[in-house]
Symmetry: D2
Subunit: 119 residues, 4 copies
């Protein structure tokens, strides 16, 4: 990874240390980590499931604090899984934005939520 990623590198190392200290590597197959990540993404979604879109834009502080914890859980499993698969997350993210730019050309996608296959 390059200089851009020093924050994600520090996080990756902190997560390695955490898991090693607890002998948790045995549970951290990519299959299991992908499950854990999906579970945390759903815990994050749960904070919003009965809110209106407007309410979701104006979260009270204690709710925002809970959401912040779930965002953190998702990032931690994402970084851990990317580490196990030796994937550069930031590079992958930028590559995907490039691909999406082709799938969703501005002139055809502007103002529409349709999936690229339905454009």
């Amino acid at each position: 990874m390059n200089a851009d990623d020093s924050g994600l590198v520090r996080l990756r190392d902190a997560l390695r240390q955490f898991a090693d200290a607890r002998d948790w590597d045995q549970f951290h197959s990519p299959k299991n980590l992908a499950s854990a990540l999906a579970v945390e993404a759903a815990e994050l979604l749960e904070r919003f499931q009965w809110l209106t879109e407007d309410q979701s834009r104006r979260l009270p502080p204690e709710e925002l604090a809970r959401v912040r914890e779930e965002l953190a859980d998702v990032l931690n499993y994402l970084v851990r899984l990317a580490d196990k698969l030796d994937v550069d997350l930031l590079q992958a993210a930028h590559d995907k934005i490039q691909l999406n730019a082709q799938k969703y050309p501005i002139d055809r996608a502007r103002g529409s939520a349709r999936k690229y296959s339905d454009l």
Copy 2:
């Protein structure tokens, strides 16, 4: 955000630009972004659903390429959602590691996958 995060800041800005160019902000309520994030996390999980844990550790190149794309989608929605909620992802992630260290003390959690409430 601080110097550590320059990679995530660049990504956040690229995602703002992408959505603005397509007039997509109207769809990007936190509620909707949390849904989209959960959907992408499940698309990532789908790549592993029929694999054994061992197979998940030895992905063929074309499979790894597909997984890499899904990891990117998850990070992109995570950064977008954190941006809308003005949450510093890296700080939140490190704070959560601290909290987890208390929930899962090494002497009690070592070698066990039990949830903290069952320790």
Copy 3:
């Protein structure tokens, strides 16, 4: 299962036949089936992720047809997983309603979406 469940019993048997004919039992561990179920639930969610709540109440016919397929996928994996674990789905569902009635007493829960732990 009792007479009430003849529909779910027929579905369970059709799914057994389908998997047996394709020698798919080897992939149908409860762990894998739970993953597949979560993936299908997210595919269902995807149909709604950019819609407003009002739009979700007035789906055009072609959209409803796609949603119907995803509802079917979720039920099929749910019945298959319950079969593997020898769980009577209808009985479990009614038992859970009883438990929820205690968690969410009418006088305290009426008109509120708060989780029972926050009531």
Copy 4:
């Protein structure tokens, strides 16, 4: 719905009664119900995330009891969502099995977990 579905009809009615008594219909847009369903499917998945496939086939009784509760939650939200969209779940499920039989012809799909688009 026909005679086959009397169990699902009874469940549908019990869920209507439960929500009406608590004035919860206001929260039960299809969009919100789809979110809640995805959240419950992930809570079910969480019970398996660190288990091996073999362990998932041999759940201890207290674990099976917890899984049973999550299976119930998924079915309850599925029936509630299908009710709101006026979808006959059993018919949809059987129709999907027919469609899957074409996507996964026995001679080509036997013994393989490949997705139909990769067959």
